[in-house]
Symmetry: none
Subunit: 257 residues, 2 copies
């Protein structure tokens, strides 16, 4: 897991802390830990977990996110759990009757990125399975985050909410590098313009032999349209060779070779 | 559930179809259906579900997402499942060795929003639990979507991937009516997948007649490579007609001219 840790630091640097208040099932704590690590979040704090800590069900459900489980810190109350934080966002489905700024996940994470860059600590706060966050908990949040869902079918479980906030975090802070590395087009040798022109000359020559360009005055626009298709396809060198093989095979058939 | 349905239409209007290829556990289909409905996606298509359909385990796990389960359509193969679609995005963790554009979820959903606004149909394609998407499946996709995750701990299950794509959809199109103004789409009518499959069947038929696929055991990979080129070109409807004319001109023996 040390390797995991190191790569994460390279990607995201400092990241928000996740705080779960009064979580009940160990399985849900484990699933949340797993969702965190999927998106490079590693610091988990629990306030009064019902079944105590450590919790083997949590570790089993985390299925490999040991770096998160091993680092869990347990607190007696929420103020203690967020004492070292500068900005706390409470994730809740329904905003309560409290005068508090409401943000969507994207805005919340943007603000956290800004603050973390400036050396501040940020926390994402989630309520327990049964009761969610109480008004007494929300009082400690700087902002309430509401994940936009279908109002006719809104319920998300704890791990799903953690997953979505983690995704938003990585989307905004970590996606660039991973994405560039993933692009497969860079590995194949692209066709040169010369390859492409050769392919088109071959095709046009065979089409002329087959009297395709008719009426003759339309030939320039017909050729331009064909070139546009193959230019747009972003062919590789080997694909231009394959297509020349296709043209050759089809034309030979016509000629009865 | 009728009420749910009506509210959803008010929120999101038309939305991407979700296609699951070769899903195994009914529970996972149900969890995916539930994740879809959380974000207002309702149209689910299954390609060769291992345990057949209907599946009571899927319904139980969907816990209330009956509007999705009741509307499931089952197909024998992926081409049939996406025949009426104009743009197909395949979600996969690791891009394979295939020449295909790679997008992140935000870019993919932005493109889908643009196309759906223009009256096109879009599909989000997910692989089964065990094997994911095969290269033969990926060939039918216009773009590969990779959800950015921690490279040291990347695994997301099916329902999580569906959840994240659904979130991205609602984030961009459904939150407070904040649908982005659609960028002007090319005026040309894009080819449907059915148009594209027809073109490829025509080409492959003529190439078979021309004994192009040699040695015979290489035919599947040769066909896949050709399909990848034309899938990537983003053809319009009229371009598929032009290319069929090209194939006909190259291959057809001229009769008595």
């Amino acid at each position: 897991m040390a390797g995991t840790d190191k790569r994460m630091i390279e990607i995201g640097g400092a990241a928000p802390v996740v705080v779960l208040t009064a979580p009940q099932m160990g399985e849900n704590i484990g699933a949340a830990a797993r969702a965190m690590l999927n998106f490079g979040l590693t610091e988990l704090r629990l306030v009064r977990p019902r079944d105590g800590w450590p919790n083997e069900k949590a570790r089993a459900m985390a299925s490999g996110a040991d770096v998160v489980i091993d680092g869990v810190a347990v607190f007696d109350d929420l103020p203690a759990a967020v004492a070292d934080c500068h900005f706390v966002a409470a994730t809740t489905a329904r905003p309560r009757d409290l005068l508090k700024a409401v943000a969507d996940p994207a805005d919340c994470v943007r603000e956290m990125g800004r603050r973390i860059e400036a050396g501040q600590r940020c926390a994402l706060l989630f309520g327990g399975e049964r009761a969610g966050l109480a008004s007494d908990d929300l009082v400690h949040a700087d902002v309430i985050v509401t994940i936009p869902t279908n109002p006719g079918f809104a319920s998300l479980n704890l791990a799903q909410s953690v997953l979505l906030m983690g995704y938003e975090w990585m989307r905004q802070t970590g996606a660039g590098g991973a994405r560039r590395a993933a692009a497969p087009l860079e590995t194949a040798r692209p066709a040169s313009k010369e390859d492409l022109f050769g392919l088109m000359a071959h095709l046009e020559g065979e089409l002329e032999a087959a009297h395709y360009f008719f009426p003759p005055e339309r030939a320039p626009v017909m050729k331009r349209n064909l070139r546009a298709i193959f230019a747009r396809a972003g062919l590789t060198e080997s694909e231009t060779r394959s297509l020349r093989g296709v043209i050759k095979a089809l034309a030979a058939k016509r000629r009865g070779e």
